[in-house]
């Protein structure tokens, strides 16, 4: 079955995005890549042309025009913020800049970034307003969202099955089984899974630490403090955006993740249990 498929790969979203579909549906790949590139352009923290940059520059309570995809991601980020009692938080840009995980955007020193997710209000399908300066980073959710959108585009273009893999955050659809190897926090390879009709995302920070003043930090934030996790986590879900976002919750607060995952049609992969079968 894998013989008649086309696989392509582009550098987008800060990683390698791979798309594979049956050869007959090869023409669906270009629009799927275009969709991911669009989402990357709208939600990039680094670019001054993105919707995030427009939201950073906006005056308090002004209505800011953003892409419908940005609305989709912000809506989900707000929902998850509430469902996880704030554990999933996209308003962590200030910490990530201070700790050196993100670059200082233009005008960073001109504002006090005191706002949080509750300050972000979605006005309609094209407008957002923010009541207090909030530095949003959608790095924990946009990649999964882009994978889902790419799958949607592939399906619309007639691909009956396939896989979209954005640097390990991936989704398999149709009558297709894909074998996925899980990388542990220490970068060794752990268990392997065969997945079907599912999205999978993993997260760890053991090898992504930075020293800030006297203490170690990571790109995972809980209550303004860094989360230093020894193990990697993997979440399987129907949608990649859920898998992607919930790995961050599982890293920061396993109890909260356990409570919320089932309601989101998602599951934490127990790596220890998998390892024991080897």
């Amino acid at each position: 079955m894998h013989d008649q498929m086309v696989r392509r790969c582009r550098p987008i979203l800060g990683t390698f995005v791979e798309i594979a579909v049956p050869e007959a549906a090869a023409a669906s790949i270009d629009p799927a890549f275009a969709r991911i590139e669009h989402i990357h352009a709208r939600m990039s923290f680094h670019s001054e042309d993105s919707d995030l940059a427009a939201l950073r520059r906006a005056r308090p309570d002004s209505s800011v025009h953003v892409d419908s995809a940005t609305i989709g991601v912000l809506r989900l980020a707000k929902d998850l913020y509430h469902q996880t009692d704030g554990v999933f938080d996209a308003a962590v840009g200030r910490q990530l800049v201070e700790w050196g995980f993100l670059p200082q955007p233009a005008g960073y020193r001109d504002k006090e970034w005191i706002g949080g997710m509750p300050d972000v209000e979605i006005l309609d399908e094209a407008h957002v307003s923010i009541s207090r300066a909030t530095l949003l980073d959608l790095g924990g959710i946009a990649k999964g969202y882009a994978v889902d959108c790419a799958v949607e585009t592939l399906l619309e273009a007639g691909a009956p099955s396939g896989i979209v893999n954005a640097g390990g955050d991936l989704r398999v659809f149709g009558e297709w089984e894909e074998i996925v190897h899980l990388r542990e926090a220490d970068e060794t390879l752990g268990a392997s899974l065969a997945i079907r009709n599912a999205a999978l995302a993993s997260s760890s920070n053991l090898h992504n630490r930075r020293q800030h003043r006297t203490h170690a930090t990571s790109p995972h934030v809980l209550g303004e403090a860094p989360v230093l996790a020894g193990d990697a986590v993997t979440v399987i879900a129907e949608r990649c955006v859920i898998a992607d976002a919930m790995t961050k919750v599982a890293i920061a607060c396993p109890t909260t993740a356990g409570r919320v995952l089932a309601t989101l049609n998602a599951e934490l992969i127990d790596r220890r249990a998998l390892g024991a079968t080897h």
Partner: protein, 175 residues
């Protein structure tokens, strides 16, 4: 929507499922057809001079891996350039297409292979393959394909593309 499903793969089965080679996405010719459909491309291979290499390094902060520049001119004035980068573990060939003004149109990965077996560090895991597919198994850890965890960074490609743009400005723009 159908419920997702997954099952654990026994390692014996896995050894057979492991792809035998590093991942090849597109050949140079396939990438040319992809990026410049139905256009003739004329090879414009150059050997960069020491002065050009120095200018590229100054403009991009990156030194070319090779002085051989693999560039093709498209009928519409665009350019197709094949380049390589070496990361910590990986060795990547990629293609960049530029429009006639020298702006980037697309970047596609042609192939991706591991420079050495660095990423599969667990000796127990490696041991499973000894005598079965020795050597090939070491490629697995570095592949983009189907490894979930510690996200692979494409920073080397970003740096490489910046160098390709500097190369274009130095060696091709006034061709």
């Amino acid at each position: 929507m159908a419920q997702f499903s997954y099952r654990i793969i026994p390692l014996a089965a896995l050894a057979l499922a492991v792809p035998a080679q590093a991942t090849v996405y597109l050949t140079v010719e396939q990438a040319q057809n992809q990026m410049f459909p139905r256009q003739s491309l004329t090879p414009q291979f150059r050997t960069l001079t020491a002065e050009q290499v120095a200018a590229i390094r100054k403009a991009s902060g990156e030194s070319p891996l090779s002085r051989d520049l693999r560039a093709w001119r498209a009928a519409d004035g665009g350019w197709f350039i094949v380049d390589e980068v070496v990361g910590k573990h990986e060795f990547i060939t990629y293609a960049v297409s530029l429009d006639s003004s020298g702006a980037i149109r697309d970047v596609e990965i042609l192939d991706y292979r591991e420079a050495y077996g660095g990423q599969v560090r667990d000796p127990r895991w490696r041991q499973q393959f000894v005598g079965k597919r020795a050597g090939q198994s070491l490629k697995l850890g570095g592949e983009i394909r189907n490894v979930s965890g510690a996200t692979l960074s494409c920073k080397h490609i970003t740096d490489g593309v910046r160098r390709v743009l500097a190369t274009y400005a130095v060696a091709l723009a006034h061709a």
